[in-house]
Symmetry: C2
Subunit: 385 residues, 2 copies
Amino acid sequence: MPALAFEIAATAGRARLGRLTTPHGTVETPAFMPVGTLGAVKGLGPEALEETGASILLANLYHLALRPGIDVVEALGGVHAFTGWRRPVLTDSGGFQVFSLSGMRKVDDDGVTFRNHLDGAALRFTPENVVEMQARIGVDVAMVLDECPPWPVEPEAAAAAWRRTLAWEERALEHAAGLGAAAPGARPGAGWAGGLFGIAQGSAFRELREAAAADLARLPFDGFAIGGVSVGEPEELRRAVVEWTAPALPADRPRYLMGVGTPADLAHAVAHGVDLFDCVLPSRNARHGELFTREGVLKIKNARFRDDPAPVEDGCPCPCCRRVSRAFLHHLVRARELTGAVLATAHNVRFFLDFMVGLRQAIASGSLTEIAVGASAAGSPQGSH
Amino acid sequence: MPALAFEIAATAGRARLGRLTTPHGTVETPAFMPVGTLGAVKGLGPEALEETGASILLANLYHLALRPGIDVVEALGGVHAFTGWRRPVLTDSGGFQVFSLSGMRKVDDDGVTFRNHLDGAALRFTPENVVEMQARIGVDVAMVLDECPPWPVEPEAAAAAWRRTLAWEERALEHAAGLGAAAPGARPGAGWAGGLFGIAQGSAFRELREAAAADLARLPFDGFAIGGVSVGEPEELRRAVVEWTAPALPADRPRYLMGVGTPADLAHAVAHGVDLFDCVLPSRNARHGELFTREGVLKIKNARFRDDPAPVEDGCPCPCCRRVSRAFLHHLVRARELTGAVLATAHNVRFFLDFMVGLRQAIASGSLTEIAVGASAAGSPQGSH
């Protein structure tokens, strides 16, 4: 019995216009989740993030468990009270982070022991405690612990990682089922009303990806993620993984492509039936002076913007475009002023969210193909010539 | 004939409740000007700064002349169009910065030649070109070029610096008079409608300070600044300089104490008749995790805030206090997250501006003494025990 409701209002080919209902509100899908690893998108307070139009925030269990610690977040009333963000929160389990700590971890069938990147202290994540920690801080959507292989990886290792992940997912589901049903206070995380998503792996091997999707589709998750992408693989393979996996995941629940991507990637995945996304691209690239527009990426530090009085994007309603010119942003970013990063982040996050609005409208009106084609332009830099 | 109007609505002892009218709007005084050296307060866009209640922004001619350059700002329509800040702007002339570049400058009776701190290229500031550059970018209040002696300094050197500064001020006034009267386009900066403030110097020598104030008071400036403070002198001397100088400046025009200070400093100076202030304290200290409150300064990185669910200051309407706890700010600032600096800056700037609102109300109601006493608490750290 899923804890989250997901309704599909319209479809266009494989693309779906949906509505995901969570304890902290509704998310219109396809949706982009800005990344607030430590509980805030870098440079934006909770009100500024709301103003971008974000309907759901992605935070990271691994990072929050390290600091301030799950006990602290729980005692303060959970992740919403802690961060001041009142809309839905999805936490990544941290599997991706843990498996990026090469040489600092030891994985076994029961979980993974690792030294954290801050003080090197040993921590252990298991399928059960990862669900429990997310339940304790009251996230709307929790992610299972998965083993995310590096890129590239041998087929045998990818298959072994998937077998282990699948076993962990079954254990996570069993543990989560106990939490929702238990009397409040009965055990840590009891009474949690959020949902749990499974994650499909399989690297870039078609047979393994298809088998993994089929395995996962049999489990009663509230949603299904495509993991193990954006780990260094070429774009063609990333897109192929989406095309192999997304259609094989259950049609009646949300599909989430983890860590992707450019506007063109988003449009491609939406066209193949993906509903949720997260990516650091808008916020990270903003801090480096790369501004997304419908015409392409502006490298705002480029000399040609020094005296450009136009806003980053004409008609964009973000706090950057409403008030300052490309010339001022050029000036601030070149001088490494904080305000440059703040304004650029507000713009880029807004751009991604508005881009998703456009995709949703295109699904509703049956014109998705045009958007998907237009997105190719929005993914490419234009500021270097 | 002053270009700016200044009306005094009420007084309480030497303190004055005033209203300074400039081309871009009215400033209720006593007023605090947040520092946006490069055109923005670090971490706040123009709308976020408006939301703090700021009625006038301080920017810096020296920094803007270096980058993006006066030509660029002028071509873009002036400092307001460039920065997106629509309310009044005062620019410091850069004398303080130039005279801080020890060993990189050569001063003569006509001006100062120096190597800038960015690329070492030689620049020359004169009383005339400093006024002209500020006029060209359309500031509401321009400051004269002054020679700001270091601390400590010999009496003879301080007196010589003042003689030179006074001569420069007369030349600046003469040059400014030509700008306002000239037909538009007649010469650079012609048609400028802003005002020009003189600056009193004299280090911490009482006789020199009193003589300087008397010298300056004879000149037809739109306002009068007390310079050469906050250069390393002890608090008692800084306050003494204010007590010697402020009452000797013309009562019918605004008095501006440059680069000061703590809330207690502001209350002290207001009680001695000062009307305008600027200081990096709220924004710089915010970035280091020092949060101003009515109860004192919170060092938010202190472990005692780790699980403190209260806002930085109860009832504060800033975007930080409205939504996040001390615990979350502690978390963000310790993790060096941008959002920590942004929220802390929004709070501290708001605190200083609200503190000025309190001083204005106290002048209006005749209760200024209580505020001045209370301010001593607000200047002292409370977070370290």
